[in-house]
């Protein structure tokens, strides 16, 4: 059965700052998956658990967060806080009998590096393998 996962990305403003370049066309040119819907946040430390859960309630098959490297966060500890909230949701998914890997945290350098596209493709492959959300 053909399945294109609905994936939600919450990305640090700085990490994704070049994603808006040329009105987003630059992302398309580097083959950023179209099924990944990106929400830019001022800092991933601003993300709340409820925001991540609401993404699943809203129909996401997978969710991931991209923040600054732990030792290079513009707001010092923002991405570390985000990682803890992602971990909390992973634990909750586990309690609900759902694959924890439906949500992940990534730490990437600022700017549009190849890794920004790589993790989007990685998540797409992983969530495709897991199948549709059980919710």
């Amino acid at each position: 059965m053909s399945f294109t996962p609905d994936i939600r990305l919450f990305s640090c403003h700085y990490t994704s700052q070049q994603s808006c370049a040329d009105q987003g066309r630059e992302l398309q040119q580097v083959h950023f998956p179209e099924n990944v819907k990106m929400t830019r946040v001022v800092c991933t430390g601003k993300l709340e658990e409820i925001t991540l859960l609401k993404a699943f309630e809203d129909g996401a098959d997978g969710v991931y967060v991209v923040g600054c490297p732990p030792d290079g966060c513009h707001n010092v500890k923002g991405s570390q806080r985000a990682a803890k909230r992602v971990q909390a949701v992973r634990s909750a998914l586990g309690e609900l009998g759902v694959e924890k890997d439906r949500i992940k945290m990534f730490f990437l350098q600022r700017g549009l590096h190849p890794e920004f596209v790589d993790v989007a493709q990685e998540m797409t492959e992983q969530i495709t393998a897991l199948g549709p959300s059980p919710f």
Binding site: L53, E57, F135
Partner: protein, 223 residues
């Protein structure tokens, strides 16, 4: 404050599996401070209940709200504004709050979302430790302000015991021996000789051994 932690989700979802309209009710008292049952936690729990029930093939309307406290009658009455909107309340208050709702809302199903764990304080962000056992006969004036009832694993009144090693408890090696702390502190206060006095036999009837407790202050009652 009262410290609590969320119950396992499977336990909570089993409680409400046959409910179709669920009110997750936060308490803005102690459980907000210890991040177990405040508005943020109730909102998260409501979402998790929706997801859990949906995964189980069930649908329920789950919404969240909060009360100033769930341990006072006048605040419990605020539940009336949600009349008809729920067939079960999942309380994220401590056990006191759940009991108050049960006492005052005899027709309502109320379920506990938390395990109430102890009376304690915040040792550091995200870490809480037990400091008081609520035993009803405080001895802190004898012990330099450190409670042997709550903080000694054996609740000894004449410690330290032989299991105190290098200032640590034999039951929980990561825990400081409170009796060692008491002796050290009383020494610093130049009051160590007070610890040689014979203590009267303790009356434990003021603790849970005397059954459920009640306190009445005539100067505050309305009658």
């Amino acid at each position: 404050m009262i410290i609590a932690e969320r119950k396992p989700l499977a336990e909570i979802i089993e409680m409400v599996q046959d409910c179709t309209k669920i009110l997750v009710l936060a308490c803005r008292g102690c459980v907000t401070v210890c991040s177990a049952g405040g508005e943020r936690e109730a909102e998260i729990l409501a979402s998790l209940i929706r997801l859990g029930l949906k995964k189980a093939g069930k649908h329920a309307e789950v919404f969240d709200a909060s009360l100033v406290r769930q341990c006072d009658k006048e605040y419990i009455e605020e539940i009336d504004q949600f009349k008809g909107q729920y067939d079960a309340i999942v309380s994220t208050a401590c056990g006191v709050g759940v009991n108050f709702i049960a006492n005052l809302r005899p027709q309502d199903n109320v379920f506990p979302a938390l395990n109430t764990t102890f009376l304690g304080g915040s040792a550091e962000q995200g870490v809480w430790t037990e400091q008081c056992a609520g035993c009803g006969d405080c001895v802190l004036h004898f012990t330099g302000g450190l409670c042997p009832v709550a903080r000694c694993a054996k609740s000894l009144m004449n410690g330290p015991c032989g299991g105190s090693v290098d200032g640590r408890c034999e039951i929980h090696p990561e825990v400081d021996c409170v009796w060692q702390m008491i002796y050290d502190r009383m020494g610093r206060l130049q009051r160590q000789e007070e610890l040689t006095a014979s203590a009267p036999i303790r009356d434990w009837s003021t603790a849970r051994h005397g059954g459920p407790r009640k306190q009445v202050r005539g100067d505050l009652t309305v009658e």
